[in-house]
Amino acid sequence: MRFRTVALSLTVVATLALAAWAGAADTPGVTATEVKIGHTNPYSGNASAYGTIGKVITAYFKKANEEGGVNGRKINFVTYDDAYSPPKTVEMVRKLVEQDQVAFVFNTLGTPTNSAIHKYMNQQKVPHLFLATGATKWGDPEHFPWTMGWQPTYQTEGKIYAQYILNNVPNAKVGILYQNDDYGKDYVKGLKDGLGDAAKKIIVMEQTYEATDATIDSQIVNLKNSGANVFYNVTIPKYAVQAIKKTHDIGWKPLHLLNNVSASVGQVMKPVGSDASRGILTTQYLKDPTDPQWKNDKGYQDWLAFMKKYYPEGNVEDAFNVYGYSAAQTMVQVLKQCGNDLSRESIMKQAASLKDFMLPMALPGIKVNTGPKDFYPIEQEQLAKFDGERWVLFGEVYDASKK
């Protein structure tokens, strides 16, 4: 009897070890004890305000590892600086895939940067998961089955603003400032689609800037002179602060719609000052860490405790630290669902099988859902207004998957 138990346990152990070994042999970056994940982020350069996202993800995986890892495997997170420069992203991602041999690439940041590696990842058949960009093109499983976005798309956000304008601003005249790339154009398309036939009449001016420009003052001057009473501000944080300040300095007082991409209190609204930033609208899908209504919320308290323990130098007013935390949690959930099968196919399959997954730092009612034909994990958002100190949510949670 005793012999049989021992033999049985031995067989089980041997089978498990064999299974782990077999999985390890198949997928680069996966061993019995480790899964290697690649990442690029602008730690330097014009978009370096996002650098903290890479740091907070690193901290979260450290926490996951200290708590025993995922299904017994530790996460080895390799993150490189691409300075928001597409050629550098290509170089770094090729290094990750070909030299470092990562299992997959996660939360690479930026629309132009991810566009540069989009085809490469799909040719190499390496999962390109939960990108830190809301361009609509990341949800195209038919043509790019290895790429999946994460946050609500820029087009969805644009449509929400359009609806707000149509319902609340009589005689709206919209002036747009956008970054001249897929990210900016996606936001503009969303707004135009949302406005429908009225778009031609309502949008009175469109101005662009390049991510290498010194200032955007001239564009703001043109927008003011166009007579616009709504300012649709599609800029990354470096230019968002300049745009908000210049708008204030030249005495232009439009209804200011700021894209969620720059809606960080710590990085944008605080530096620019409450006089200039009061009254600005944005959309949100995550709990803003400066909002006192979450003070006693379990999700917020857990996040705060995590920040204090694993990323004490991080800014607890910075929404990007909530962003990275939530993205990393989604990733860990996918790895959990994979069980012991960490082949690249299985990782993609599980990423596309998230069902009503709740993120503790997402707004109440927002759930993560994906499917074989639905590569848009988060599709719900809510409007918020800046009161000089913090974002105040208002209105209903808008669900793009239902419209």
Partner: protein, 293 residues
């Protein structure tokens, strides 16, 4: 007409930024015959020093003066430690050293102060100034004023002081200067110190507009080069006029020339550099340098 005037005023404001950094570029070229690619990053670093002092509670003008003093010493040290060993090397070697300096200063600033952008206070009132339908910030006007003061200071310094004259001589003809008793090595070091000081003024004036982060000078440096080239690398006054011109041209072309629009604004700066170098290499106000070869 309103939009034309407003774009011109806004162009002068940004042009003032370019002018202040262009002035530092010209300053170091005059004093040492070197085109310093690290000028922007030196200015940025000085601005961070000012920021630290302001954060420590020093009054604005005390921090301002202390920053200029520190920048001067810093520039002096950079020349002694980094540039001196390549003093007699070919121009290209000096350029590479300067670019190395640029990367180092940028990364060190990022390492110490992080890449998060910080607001930087302005010594001028916050309220916008209105002239008819044209509106501009008081800081824009003040920054141009300060640039002009620096220009005046440099003009007087290089034209009427013994030290200034000795510095120009040392830059242009080190051998003869040495024979006349000018301590050429020290002149070059002082030149770097002064250029760093002028750069620090530029940084402190620019930061309230573009916000302080380690990359704040990256875009501006290209425009400053265009300004200095347009005005002439040998003429401080030319650099200021060049800066203001580039600012205005950039805005007007971006607004009125359809196919350029706001997409090719930076290209305009580069085109200015190329056109000036082809048509009039010494710039609008520059002296034609003739060298015996």
């Amino acid at each position: 007409m309103d939009i034309f005037l407003q774009q011109v005023v806004s162009g002068l404001a940004t042009g003032g930024i370019y002018a202040s950094l262009a002035l530092a570029l010209v300053m170091i070229y005059q004093a040492t015959d070197v085109v310093n690619f690290a000028q922007g990053e030196m200015a940025m670093f000085s601005t961070y020093l000012a920021w630290s002092m302001l954060n420590a509670g020093l009054p604005y003008w005390v921090a301002f003066a202390a920053t200029l003093a520190l920048a001067f010493v810093g520039g002096l040290l950079i020349e002694r430690i980094v540039i001196r060993p390549v003093e007699n090397a070919p121009v290209l070697a000096v350029v590479i050293v300067c670019i190395g300096l640029l990367v180092i200063l940028n990364s060190v600033a990022g390492w110490i102060y992080s890449y998060i952008q910080k607001p930087f206070p302005s010594p001028f009132p916050n309220a916008p100034i209105k002239l008819g339908n044209v509106v501009f910030g008081a800081h824009d006007l003040g920054a141009i004023g300060i640039t002009l003061v620096v220009l005046l200071f440099l003009y007087v310094f290089f034209r009427y002081t013994t030290l200034g004259l000795a510095m120009r001589a040392a830059a242009q003809n080190p051998v003869s200067s040495r024979l006349c008793g000018v301590r050429v090595g020290w002149m070059l070091a002082i030149g770097w110190g002064l250029a760093a000081l002028v750069g620090a003024v530029a940084g402190i004036m620019v930061a309230p507009i573009v916000f302080l982060d380690p990359n704040m000078m990256a875009g501006i440096l290209i425009y400053a080069f265009a300004s200095a080239t347009l005005g002439g690398f040998t003429s401080p006054g030319g650099a200021v006029v060049g800066g203001l011109l580039v600012g205005v041209i950039e805005n007007l072309v971006g607004t009125y020339v359809r196919f350029i629009g706001t997409e090719l604004k930076l290209t305009v700066a580069l085109a200015i550099i190329v056109i000036v170098l082809v048509v009039k290499p010494s710039g609008l106000f520059g002296r034609v340098v003739v060298r015996r070869v």
